[in-house]
């Protein structure tokens, strides 16, 4: 399995250099992989000739082999592991309790959280922000600078761009925050004013750098958004940072108390949170675009696993759409929540 993954990565670049594609398979080099809060990491990858991408799009990551150096000597039963790095050469972090080696098999989808291009050298750096929750993300947390992984992408559609006079309300919950950072970058370039609303269960689960007092109002003390001239309202379920309660409540409060002219909501997060945002948008009569998450086997529109119910025709009528290909971004009014 390990050998096979290395072969994949080595083959990818050669296959892609020939033509300028809209998407493809690429070998990516890890520039940095740093922990930004209790369970979130920022992974920055360098790719050659990576096609143009837009906020809302995602990549499929082929996860690296396990770092068995984190296992104790008793656990590292001889012969069971495929690879064994010298203890100490890799930082021990999260441990996979399934130490007998249940490898993640399929790729895992992650939203593009940021991108910087160096056109002269045909090199692009992309950021992924991921939460460590299972076998693949545990293995990703063991990546170190210089490692190579295989990336498929960019996949899916993009958030639409509102008119210059509109105000973009970027609503991100937990692992839905990353695409909002990329979106803030794009809207700043397009001259569209944005305000970010970010929420998490607790302060230490916000995958962002807090540089000062965030209070309960919009502030410039969230580094990732401030970098794109975007103020941020913070909410945590337990009140450990910013507003106490759900980010949707903070959004509604903000829209009611301040005169947001022609707001357009852009939202990504857990499904209940996106459903709640869609209701807020309907109440406030604001357009709302959501980036949906569904279990994905392929990400390329072939397996039909990532379905959502999409309104079509009369009120109760619906069709299945594919989140990976027709989405992940949809108008919230089109979804049968």
């Amino acid at each position: 399995m390990l050998l096979w993954m290395i072969q994949c990565a080595a083959h990818d670049n050669a296959a892609n250099h020939a033509t300028a594609r809209k998407k493809g398979q690429f070998a990516a080099i890890v520039l940095a992989n740093t922990q930004i809060c209790r369970e979130h990491f920022l992974l920055t990858l360098r790719l050659r000739e990576f096609p143009a991408s837009e906020p809302g799009q995602f990549v499929q990551v082929l996860c690296p082999p396990p770092d068995v150096a984190v296992q104790s000597a008793e656990q590292a039963v001889a012969g069971l592991q495929e690879v064994f790095w010298e203890p100490g050469t890799r930082p021990p972090r999260f441990h996979d309790p399934d130490f007998l080696g249940s490898q993640p098999y399929l790729r895992r989808p992650f939203s593009i959280a940021g991108r910087r291009d160096d056109p002269a050298n045909a090199v692009s750096d992309i950021d992924l922000i991921y939460r460590v929750i299972g076998k693949a993300t545990i293995r990703m947390s063991h990546l170190v600078t210089g490692d190579s992984i295989s990336i498929l992408g960019p996949l899916g559609n993009a958030f639409p761009v509102p008119e210059a006079t509109h105000t973009a309300l970027l609503v991100g919950g937990g692992v839905g925050i990353p695409p909002m950072i990329y979106l803030a970058d794009k809207f700043q370039r397009a001259g569209i004013k944005s305000i970010a609303f970010v929420g998490a269960q607790k302060a230490d689960l916000i995958p962002l750098h807090i540089t000062g007092d965030v209070g309960t109002q919009a502030s410039s003390n969230v580094r990732e958004f401030a970098a794109f001239n975007t103020q941020t309202v913070v909410a945590t379920d337990d009140g450990s940072l910013g507003n106490k309660g759900f980010v949707t409540q903070a959004l509604e409060k903000f829209c009611e108390s301040s005169a947001v002219s022609q707001g357009v909501i852009f939202c990504c997060g857990p499904t209940p949170m996106m459903r709640a945002t869609a209701l807020v948008a309907a109440r406030l009569k604001l357009p709302c675009y959501v980036s949906l998450e569904q279990p994905m086997a392929c990400g390329m529109g072939t397996c039909q696993s990532c379905i959502i119910k999409y309104r079509s025709g009369s009120a109760e009528d619906w069709v299945y759409k594919l989140t990976c290909k027709d989405g992940p971004v949809f108008n919230s009014a089109d979804i049968l929540w």
């Binding site: 296959a15 993640p104 390329m300 072939t302 959502i308």
Partner: protein, 322 residues
């Protein structure tokens, strides 16, 4: 060393990967497995599809089908379960929207046909056979474990023989392939039934009926409760089944086998060929790397050259068991 002549020599000496499957001549044995590659060119950005030996479509039914509720897939160790429920756009949209794309791909096309009664299969197969020359093969999905009753054709040799005989009468031109279910106690029994009823080729294996449980909710993970297991987890069983069908049925009747189940490297491919497969399909592994069929061809050529074979056909079914 003169580089151009050495390249020319390598090309001249490259072992021949072409195979014959019924009426179809394939430049190489590698195909896609139904349901893992979409309708036509979905993978065009990720792999050179014109280098595949053949393209096998998703199951196309007479009427469009929405399929099962979510969750439809769940990963397992070395594989996955799926219960898509044969979601597809239906024959009419397939003909108007996808056939033109398939015609441009320039490789033999095999359409996978599911059904809920014998007429469903026969009607779709007949249309494909009579109206669409690009469709060179018709693969009957008699083994889909996800749809009620679908099980019965593939697991009951009597009903299977009736079905194949009926479709056989109405398919005059295209190569008729029967895709066997592995959810039987002896796959040679259903294989024999299909061949004696007129199948030109057998493909195996489809997925194994399986279940994953969400331990927090104490419920099945998939909305359909059960799903079909695919991927490397099933490969050794699939290799065994191909060998059993080859030795018990296919070899004597001179019927080619399309082998599949967990193939993702050229080494996997060689195992299936030695066991008796003439064609090979890659399914689940395409989700990770759609270019795997092309990579396997490279590996097969090197293996054959190293072993001193001029053609892949020389090693089909040459497993030594003495």
């Amino acid at each position: 060393m003169n580089i151009s002549t050495s390249t020319a020599q390598t090309v001249a000496a490259a072992p021949d990967l072409s195979v014959q499957i019924g009426q179809m001549r394939l430049a190489n044995p590698m195909m896609t497995a139904s349901g893992t590659c979409g309708y036509a060119d979905e993978y065009a950005d990720f792999a050179d599809l014109s280098k595949f030996g053949a393209f096998v479509t998703k199951s196309i039914s007479k009427a469009p089908r929405k399929g099962n509720e979510s969750y439809r897939v769940i990963e397992t160790r070395a594989g996955m379960l799926n219960a898509i429920g044969l979601a597809n756009i239906g024959l009419e949209r397939f003909i108007s929207e996808k056939i033109p794309i398939l015609e441009r791909m320039g490789i033999p096309v095999i359409v996978n046909v599911p059904g809920w009664c014998a007429e469903d299969y026969a009607d779709v197969a007949e249309r494909l056979d009579q109206e669409l020359p690009v469709v060179q093969g018709i693969e009957l999905n008699v083994s889909c474990p996800n749809v009620k009753n679908g099980l019965s054709f593939g697991t009951d040799p009597v009903r299977l023989a009736e079905l194949v005989a009926m479709v056989r009468k109405r398919v005059k031109r295209a190569t008729l392939i029967v895709k066997l279910s592995p959810n039987v106690s002896d796959v040679a029994v259903t294989a024999r039934a299909a061949v004696e009823a007129g199948a030109d080729c057998l493909s195996l294996v489809n997925t194994f009926t399986a279940m994953v449980i969400d331990i927090e909710k104490a419920r099945p993970m998939l909305a359909n409760a059960t799903g079909g297991l695919s991927g490397p987890a099933i490969k050794p069983i699939a290799v065994y089944m191909v060998h059993r069908v080859y030795t018990q049925v296919a070899k004597a009747h001179n019927i080619p086998i399309i082998g599949m189940g967990g193939i993702q490297t050229w080494q996997d491919a060689v195992e299936f060929i030695l066991a008796g497969a003439t064609g090979l399909a890659v399914g689940t592994a395409l989700f990770i790397d759609p270019a795997i069929p092309n990579k396997i061809c490279d590996g097969l050529r090197q293996y054959l050259a190293r072993k001193g074979h001029g053609s892949l056909r020389e090693i089909i079914g040459t497993l030594k068991t003495d």
